[in-house]
Symmetry: C2
Subunit: 204 residues, 2 copies
């Protein structure tokens, strides 16, 4: 049995939870409160979560964990080049998420305003135009014209990204909506989403 | 034959070049000048390099490319969990490189000074203590107690990281020195280093 340690939010833990759920792999969904975190942090490799434990072994890094579980649940590619394609797609989504985080977590309000402008006027249009074209080329997926862990990674972190941007990217970008709908068509994933809260965007 | 497109520097292109060299895989080492870059950028997926081309296919993301080539050159793990261990190690090194880059590329000089302090007083000691322990546990490697592409990734980006920090991490950290020495013990790698310039640190 696997144990996943993360905060009681979606964000970087959610793609892992979705892949485990898709694979019908039982797991302990260990959610650390922010009060518990300082103590838990001391025992985490590189002081970070998500962390996956199995058979007495402990491993960090969310993309690496997703890739590992994807192989077990057949969400990986069927050739080395396909895996490269999937990895590149997931890492590009992760890059975009990091860039959005640099705006969202900026503490200086003037700098934050400038970064927000850059995110909305440059970064998002640049990435999303290419991502949408990629989804179209891949017939409603991020890579390999089929369901892979890159799709799970995107939809797993989507509400976290939406929360940071205070927009719903699936509403604005039809390719993302298609992937989201495809995942929601999977009963286990639909049930997971019904039973676990998403992150809230600001009330308007 | 593979074609690697990157700038005429080491940085994120170098781990890929080292893995190709280790695997005795012939490749076109396409080095774009900064003058050519604006035009080349338009044809690169997500406007970034390094980019690997093969058989008419084009792929971005340096970690993904390293992982792909590592599989072909037997620098990957011998089980799914070993690959997770290698991926996590390489992604942790990449995280550290990103954090150092956030200081190095900061434009505001006051903010840069504060970030520099954080890098030298918090981030580096925190990461390097854990990385050194990891190298010791893995008998002179980053993962799996054997030579893997994580070692190539670390040593490939090392002089770029050293340049940003203006220190030689291999001098300060014996574990990193051990991995560097092991790579330099490989004739093809030694020759590559002899024939290709490293990035210069500031003259003192």
């Amino acid at each position: 049995m696997y144990k996943l340690t993360y905060f009681d939010i979606t964000a970087l833990g959610e793609p892992i939870r979705l892949i485990l759920t898709y694979g019908k792999m039982e797991f302990e969904d260990n959610r650390v409160t922010f009060e518990e975190w300082p103590m838990v942090k001391l025992n985490m490799p590189f002081g970070q979560v998500p962390v996956l434990e199995h058979d007495g072994k402990v491993m960090n890094q969310s993309l690496a964990i997703c890739r590992y579980l994807a192989k077990l649940t057949k969400l990986d590619g069927s050739s080395d080049w396909e895996n490269l394609e999937i990895d590149a797609a997931a890492e590009t989504i992760s890059d975009l998420r990091t860039k959005i985080g640099l705006f969202y977590y900026e503490k200086d309000s003037l700098v934050k305003e400038a970064k927000k402008k850059e995110v909305f006027e440059e970064i998002l249009p640049f990435y999303l135009e290419k991502i949408e074209a990629q989804i179209q080329k891949n017939e409603g997926h991020l890579a390999c014209k089929k369901l892979t862990w890159a799709d799970f990674y995107l939809i797993g972190i989507l509400d976290y990204v939406n929360m940071m941007l205070d927009v719903d990217l699936a509403e604005k970008y039809p390719g993302i909506k298609i992937i989201q709908d495809k995942l929601l068509d999977i009963d286990d994933i639909k049930n997971w989403f019904d039973e676990h809260p998403r992150m809230e965007r600001k009330k308007e």
